[in-house]
C-alpha cells in the first residue's frame, strides 16, 4: 500500500522536520538560556527548566490545574503529592481498577489514583494511573526535598516517558514526544555525524534505564537518572579498584531513608559505551545507596549517571530510539 508518508514531497517535508528537530535539539546547546520552544510538526514539545539542584522541571496540567513536576527517568512511576492531587480532582482507584489500589514501594504503601487529563507543553498525555505520595510517610526523598524548598507537586516518571517515547535534551532543557506515525527519524545517524556518540539504553526491571560502562578494566552499567542531581559511583567498586578517595563532609539522603557520607575520587578512565568521559572528581557513595539496584540480574551496577554529567556532556536521552547521545 502506498501511503502519503512515502510521497517525495512528504520525504522532503520529513527532512525539513528532522532538520528543525536537530536544530532544536542541538543548536540550543550553545545558549545558556534557550528561547521559548517553537512547535515542531509531528512532535509535541515541552520546555523544561533546570533548578538549583540540577533538577529538570516543567509545568504539568493535571485535570487542567498547573503543577510543577520534576522529569525523573529514575522514578519507575509518575508520583504526585496526595494532598495536591486530591485538590486537583485526581480520584483514587477502586477495588476493580486494573492498576490495583495500593502500591508497595520500598516498605511504603502508596495509594494509586487515576488522572483524567494530563498535559505538558503541547503534549497531551491523556489519562492514566499515578501513585500518590503523602509527606512524611514515604522515602521518596527527592520529592520531599523539592517540596520543602519549592512547590513541587510530583515526579514525571519512566511510565509516561517510556510510553510516549520521550526525547530529553538535558543540556538545552527541552523534551519532545513523537505524536504522529512517521518513518524512524535519522536522529541517531545525524547526531553521530555531529560528533555525538550513541550509547544503547536498556530498560531494566522496574523501568530503570541503564547504559554500559567500563572503569578500571571492569564492565558494568550506570543508571541514567535525571532525578539524581549528581553522578556517583558505588563505594564497593571504588574499593575494589583501589581508587584513592577523599572524605567529605557532604551527607546524602539515601533512597532507603538513611544518610550516607560521601567521599570523592578522581576518575580518569570512565567510559560510557564508547564515550570517554574527561578525567574528573566524582562522588563515591556507600554500597547501600539503593536497596533495589542489586536486583538487576547478572549486572554489576557501578552507580548513577546524574543530571550534572548528562548536562555537561550534552546528554540526549532518546526513548524513541532507546539511545543516550553524549558529546
Amino acid at each position: 500500500m502506498i501511503t502519503p508518508q512515502s510521497h517525495p514531497a512528504a520525504r522532503c517535508f520529513r527532512r525539513l522536520l528532522l532538520g528543525s528537530i536537530l536544530a532544536l535539539l542541538l543548536g540550543g546547546a550553545a545558549y545558556a538560556a534557550p528561547p521559548p520552544l517553537p512547535e515542531v510538526p509531528g512532535y509535541a514539545s515541552v520546555q523544561l527548566s533546570r533548578e538549583t539542584i540540577n533538577q529538570l522541571e516543567t509545568t504539568v496540567y493535571v485535570n487542567g490545574h498547573p503543577e510543577r513536576f520534576a522529569v525523573d527517568t529514575g522514578a519507575s512511576n509518575t508520583v504526585m503529592n496526595e494532598h495536591i492531587a486530591l485538590k486537583d480532582g485526581v480520584k483514587p482507584t477502586g477495588p476493580d481498577s486494573p492498576y490495583g489500589q495500593y502500591q508497595y514501594l520500598k516498605g511504603q504503601t502508596l495509594r494509586i489514583a487515576e488522572v483524567n487529563d494530563m498535559r505538558a507543553g503541547s503534549m497531551d498525555f491523556g489519562r492514566g494511573p499515578i501513585s500518590l505520595y503523602s509527606k512524611g510517610t514515604s522515602d521518596i526523598l527527592l520529592l520531599e526535598h523539592a517540596q520543602e524548598s519549592r512547590h513541587m507537586a510530583g515526579l514525571l516518571g519512566a511510565d509516561i516517558l517510556l510510553h510516549y517515547k520521550a526525547i530529553i535534551n538535558v543540556r538545552t532543557r527541552q523534551m519532545f514526544f513523537p505524536i504522529k506515525s512517521h518513518e524512524h527519524s535519522k536522529l541517531g545517524a545525524t547526531v553521530a555525524a555531529m560528533g555525538f556518540t550513541r550509547v544503547p539504553l536498556r530498560v531494566e526491571n522496574g523501568r530503570g534505564f541503564t547504559v554500559p560502562c567500563t572503569i578500571g578494566g571492569k564492565s558494568g552499567r550506570l543508571f541514567v537518572d535525571t532525578g539524581a542531581f549528581t553522578t556517583f559511583l558505588d563505594a564497593a567498586l571504588a574499593s575494589e579498584l583501589r581508587m584513592p578517595t577523599q572524605r567529605t563532609k557532604i551527607v546524602f539522603g539515601g533512597f532507603d531513608g538513611g544518610r550516607n557520607e560521601a567521599s570523592v575520587a578522581r576518575v580518569s578512565d570512565l567510559k560510557i559505551g564508547d564515550f570517554h568521559l574527561p578525567a574528573q572528581k566524582l562522588f563515591i557513595l556507600g554500597s547501600n545507596f539503593s536497596a533495589d539496584i542489586s536486583r538487576i540480574e547478572e549486572t554489576h551496577v557501578f552507580g548513577i549517571l546524574g543530571a550534572d554529567l548528562l548536562a555537561a556532556e550534552h546528554g540526549i536521552i532518546d526513548l524513541e530510539d532507546m539511545s543516550l547521545y553524549l558529546k
Binding site: 486494573p98 504503601t109 495509594r111 536497596a291 536486583r295 540480574e297
Partner: protein, 275 residues
C-alpha cells in the same frame, strides 16, 4: 484524527497522493470527514493514556520472570511439587545474584511446606543483600519471619520482625506484621495486645488509614487488648474499604469481636502469587 481515519486516508490515495475517487478534492475531504466521524461513532476511538505501561512488564527480564513465576504458582497449586522444584532451580540458576528471586523461591518452598529449603533460600538472600544492599536486609528478615510463623516458631518470627523493624521503623509492612503476630500468635509468651496496638496504629498512620489489610490487623490488635468496640469499628471499616475483596476471614473475625472474642491464628499458610 483517529487511527481508523488515517487508514482510510491511506487506502483512498493513489501512488502520487491524488484521490482515486472520481470527485473533487474538497468533496473527497468532506467524504473522509463524514466517513471518519461515522466510523468514530461505530468504533469508539482508543483512549489516550499510559495505563498499558503499568499492566505490562517493562523489561525482558521482568517478562521472563513473570512467565516463570506464573508457571511455578500453577505447579504449586496443582501440587506438582517435582515440576515446581525443577522450575525453581532453573529460576535461581538464571538469576543467581538476585536476592528478590531467592526470597520468592523461599515463599514458594514455604507454600510447599519445604521449610528447610525455604530457610536456606532466606539465608542466601541475606548473604546477597549483606554484600549488595544491606539497607534492604529487613526484607529478607520479614520473609523469614513469615516462614518461622508458618513453621509454628512464633518466637523466632518475632525476633526476626523486631530486627527488621530496627532497620526501618517507618516500614508499614514490618509494623503491620509485628502487630499481627503479637495480636494473633498462639504462643502466649509472644502475644502482647498493648504492643500490638502500638505497632498496628503506627502501620495504619503510615499507610494513610485506608488500607484494608492494615485496618484488619489493627482490629485484631485491639481485640487482643480487649478493646472490642474499637476492634469492631476498625474491622467494619476494613471490610467496607475492601468491599469483600482480598480480606480473607474478615467477616468471621468481625463476628468474633462482636462476641468479645479475640482472633487467634494457629499457623499462617504461605500464599504464593506470581511476581
Amino acid at each position: 484524527m483517529s487511527v481508523t481515519e488515517i487508514r482510510l486516508t491511506a487506502t483512498a490515495l493513489s501512488s502520487d497522493g491524488i484521490p482515486v475517487f472520481p470527485m473533487s478534492r474538497i468533496k473527497f475531504l468532506l467524504f473522509l470527514l463524514l466517513l471518519g466521524s461515522c466510523t468514530i461513532r461505530v468504533l469508539p476511538a482508543q483512549e489516550r493514556g499510559w495505563g498499558d505501561t503499568w499492566r505490562k512488564p517493562g523489561s525482558a527480564g521482568e517478562r521472563a520472570k513473570q512467565q516463570r513465576t506464573a508457571e511455578i504458582v500453577r505447579e504449586v497449586k496443582a501440587k506438582n511439587f517435582a515440576a515446581a522444584e525443577k522450575n525453581l532451580e532453573a529460576f535461581v540458576r538464571q538469576s543467581p545474584n538476585d536476592a528478590a528471586v531467592r526470597l520468592w523461591t523461599a515463599r514458594a518452598h514455604a507454600a510447599m511446606h519445604r521449610y528447610d529449603a525455604a530457610l536456606r533460600d532466606c539465608a542466601e538472600a541475606m548473604r546477597i543483600l549483606q554484600e549488595d544492599a544491606p539497607a534492604a536486609i529487613g526484607e529478607a528478615l520479614s520473609v523469614r519471619a513469615q516462614i518461622y510463623a508458618a513453621m509454628g516458631n512464633a518466637r523466632a518470627s518475632r525476633a526476626d520482625l523486631e530486627r527488621a523493624f530496627g532497620t526501618n521503623r517507618k516500614n508499614v509492612n514490618y509494623n503491620n506484621q509485628l502487630a499481627w503476630l503479637l495480636a494473633t500468635s498462639p504462643d502466649a509468651a509472644v502475644r502482647d495486645g498493648a504492643q500490638a496496638v502500638r505497632y498496628g496504629k503506627a502501620a495504619n498512620a503510615l499507610s494513610g488509614g485506608h488500607v484494608p489489610a492494615v485496618l484488619d490487623t489493627l482490629a485484631a490488635a485491639e481485640a487482643a487488648a480487649s478493646d472490642f468496640e474499637a476492634a469492631v469499628r476498625d474491622e467494619r471499616q476494613a471490610l467496607a474499604l475492601a468491599k469483600g475483596d482480598k480480606l480473607h476471614g474478615g467477616d468471621e473475625r468481625l463476628l468474633l469481636y462482636e462476641n468479645h472474642q479475640p482472633y487467634r491464628e494457629d499457623r499462617p499458610h504461605e500464599t504464593l502469587s506470581a511476581e
